[in-house]
């Protein structure tokens, strides 16, 4: 497919990385940490109940809670509140797995392939971390889906997919083929940016046509890697309000996720991912295959031991890192927080300081930059006033939180932070309303029943009283009759 076949993306930004950046595409493997931390929280931040007990020994791939598996074999030694890589800076219930170093795997032998994927706990390794099995199931509801493999790196400074494709092109293509077979489709569209020449060469050398993989090169525009803009560019389908890719019958999966699926179908659970570790100036980057649950500080120490630039950067900022890419990342203290499926990159050093915003002059630079055609300035006004209804009218849900508007705003307004705030406020409001509706119905029921009961009791009492009165009356009649009879009968 040529560039001419690609649908244009309105908005987006051409971001530049330092031209002399040194990206190390070797795939290093982090040593297995002695203690692995498994936060029991799903992607919607619901706390999960563990289904293992303290002291229980588990195998790699064994379920420890709904959707969470042990990344290696060992013993569950503690159930504690522990920090995790999330902007909330909260602590969450976490299982501590003391690994035994033997790394024994539990075999995954479910018959149905989707069950296998589910049992292997395959989650999206791109950004959101949705359950992959659920995604495929949803997309297949509409018949034969369209398969899009997303190898577009979302942000500069993240090179984990690039490294994977350069090092294991044949495994990637084989994974695509097994997914093609699983879904029963004819081919896969494999989207990749045109500046990843090394990865492209590696893939082309393996003859992707034999795997029914159609490689589509895209000019580099941020955020082409986000789901909605990518689908827009490949298929021309603009996702409607409140739609995800699966809702229009598109299975859009990150390239590393596709490999995870392939492994799951072969019986290997999803226990690791590739993490990019990059210096804050984006000059040096390395890629490390890491077990989930590995503490971030252990990973950083390993990274420093193989790359001197990262070691120097780490010495300068020993306490703070940025979790995520240069646009979506958030600042975090360097501690034993674990690596999760969504942790695609770590930047050494703190985030840039946030400048003081000034008033919005509605210059509409954000509208031009928005890749999903929203009016960020109107959404911003709605978010500041916490006017959720207005924010909905301006399609708050469509916003992909890419951060383009922040970068172009002449007034330094942190628009994306405002939209995150508004989205959370909206979720909160919806939860409150659902709870209120439920409580109201139950209360109405309660009141109606109590009223009915009181009424029934009153009626029953009245009936009883009437009966008693009647009985008294009839008793009096009898007495009177007896008295009359007595009177009539002369005393003998």
């Amino acid at each position: 497919m040529n560039h001419t076949d690609i649908h244009p993306l309105s908005g987006g930004l051409a971001l530049s990385v330092p031209t002399n950046a040194h990206i190390d595409a070797t795939l290093h493997t982090a040593p297995l940490a002695p203690q692995l931390y498994l936060p029991l929280v799903d992607y919607s931040r619901t706390v999960l109940q563990p289904n293992v007990t303290l002291g229980q020994s588990v195998l790699a791939g064994q379920s420890v809670a709904r959707g969470i598996i042990a990344p290696s074999s060992g013993t569950i030694t503690a159930y504690i509140e522990h920090s995790w890589p999330h902007p909330s800076n909260t602590q969450v219930p976490t299982l501590v797995l003391q690994s035994d170093g033997q790394d024994r795997f539990i075999p995954i032998d479910h018959v149905h392939p989707l069950e296998r994927i589910e049992a292997a706990a395959v989650h999206g390794l791109g950004g959101a971390g949705f359950s992959t099995a659920a995604k495929i199931r949803k997309a297949c509801e509409f018949g034969r889906p369209t398969l899009v493999v997303n190898a577009v790196e979302c942000e500069p400074g993240i090179a984990c997919d690039d490294a994977l494709m350069q090092q294991q092109p044949r495994a990637v293509l084989e994974a695509c083929r097994s997914l093609i077979e699983l879904l029963g489709v004819y081919s896969a569209q494999f989207a990749i940016e045109d500046d990843k020449q090394l990865a492209l060469n590696a893939l082309q050398a393996c003859e992707p046509e034999q795997y029914a993989v159609d490689i589509v090169t895209l000019p580099v525009i941020y955020p082409s890697g986000a789901e909605a803009p990518l689908i827009q560019r490949l298929t021309g389908i603009a996702l409607e309000y409140d739609q995800r890719a699966a809702d229009v019958g598109v299975v859009c999966l990150n390239v590393a996720t596709v490999l995870s699926i392939h492994n799951a179908l072969q019986g290997r659970p999803a226990v690791d991912r590739i993490v990019s570790i990059t210096t804050q100036d984006l000059h040096h980057s390395i890629n490390i295959r890491t077990r989930f649950g590995t503490p971030v500080n252990a990973l950083m120490t390993f990274a420093a031991s193989i790359n001197p630039a990262i070691a120097t950067a780490l010495q300068q900022n020993s306490s703070t890192i940025t979790v995520g890419g240069p646009l979506s990342g958030f600042q975090k203290t360097l501690d034993t927080s674990p690596i999760l499926a969504t942790t695609n990159a770590l930047l050494v050093g703190p985030a840039d300081p946030v400048p003081t915003p000034s008033a919005c002059i509605r210059c509409a630079e954000c509208t031009v930059a928005c890749p999903v055609n929203l009016l960020p300035q109107e959404l911003y006004t709605a978010a500041v006033t916490e006017d959720i209804d207005t924010a909905n009218r301006y399609l708050l849900d469509v916003c992909v939180l890419c951060g383009c508007c922040d970068l172009v705003c002449p007034a330094d307004i942190p628009l994306t932070s405002w939209f995150r705030f508004a989205k959370d406020a909206k979720r909160q409001r919806q939860q409150e309303q659902t709870a209120a509706t439920l409580a109201r119905a139950r209360s109405d029921n309660h009141n109606e029943r109590e009223t009915r009961r009181a009424q029934e009791k009153a009626e029953a009492d009245a009936a009883r009283r009437a009966q008693a009165a009647q009985r008294k009356e009839s008793a009096a009649d009898i007495k009177a009759a007896i008295a009359r009879a007595k009177n009539r009968r002369p005393r003998s």
């Binding site: 984006l282 646009l327 979506s328 990342g329 840039d352 210059c363 929203l374 009218r393 705003c409 932070s417």
Partner: protein, 335 residues
Amino acid sequence: MSGALTHNRLGVKRLKTSTIMSSVMLALIPGSILMVYWLGPGVLMNLTVSVLVAVACEALCLRCRQRAITPMIADGSIVLAAWLLALCLPPAFPFGPLIVGTLAMCVLGKHLYGGLGQNLFNPAMVGYAVLLVSFPTAMTTWTQPGELTAFNDTANWGSWWALKWHGVSSLGGSWDAITQATPLDHLRSLERQSLIVDVDALHSPPWRALSLAWLAGGLYLLVRGIIRWHIPVAMLVAAALTHLAYRFFFPEYSLPLLPALFYGALMLGAFFIATDPVTAPSSVRSRLCYGAGIGVLSMVIRTSSNYPEGVAFAVLLMNATTPLLDRWFVLDKRL
């Protein structure tokens, strides 16, 4: 929290608010110098008083609204608005009404809506409209270009000073000799009397040069990326087409196309007033629609109404449609 790295680290070029405002002011300088040169110290007095009063009023409003004063004045938006208002006023416009207009601009046009970025209508045009309906005679009495323009003559400054304080009567009988209605007014009265109009006799070179200066400033802004082309181009094309339509249907409007475009406030309006980011819509299509609306309306008002120039009212009318255009072209199209 969001955006761990800033724009300059990721190679994104962006303008600061103060850069936008100062670039627009820079683009206004050539035209303003020409105006002062042709029309004398009165223009300079207008500019000074309007800017000073506006800044003072802005500071007072911000203080009353409990907002930080210095950063909001330092961004230059209020100075720019006052400057634009002053450029629209006749040189002999008295101080009293000038102050009233500036206050209307600042309070009515801006702070009652919630300050910078919140106003629905272009503040300078609100001030202008208030003055035009309140002081119609003073607003349409222009001195002839080249009259009373000696800058090194203290007596001349004195007479301007008196003129600005005491109005027309201070000059006595000599007043009539140096004033005229606005060029377009003059033109129209000639047309109404069915006189043949000699365009060059309208002292056209100064006005034409002024329009060219605004055009040059506008092109500078386009090149700098401060404004985008959609609104000015749509406005000028629509204005030209409207004028041609008038000429076709009503042959008595005999002014040729180019003079019509280069007279009056059309160029100033197209590049400096209609492009005000706060009151203009956001997307390409809504901007084209907005610009075209201003172009058509200003020509219609200029030709068919009693007002000498239609740009101000056209801008205000189209300002009112901005939220609708944005909703229609950006959001409703995709639902």
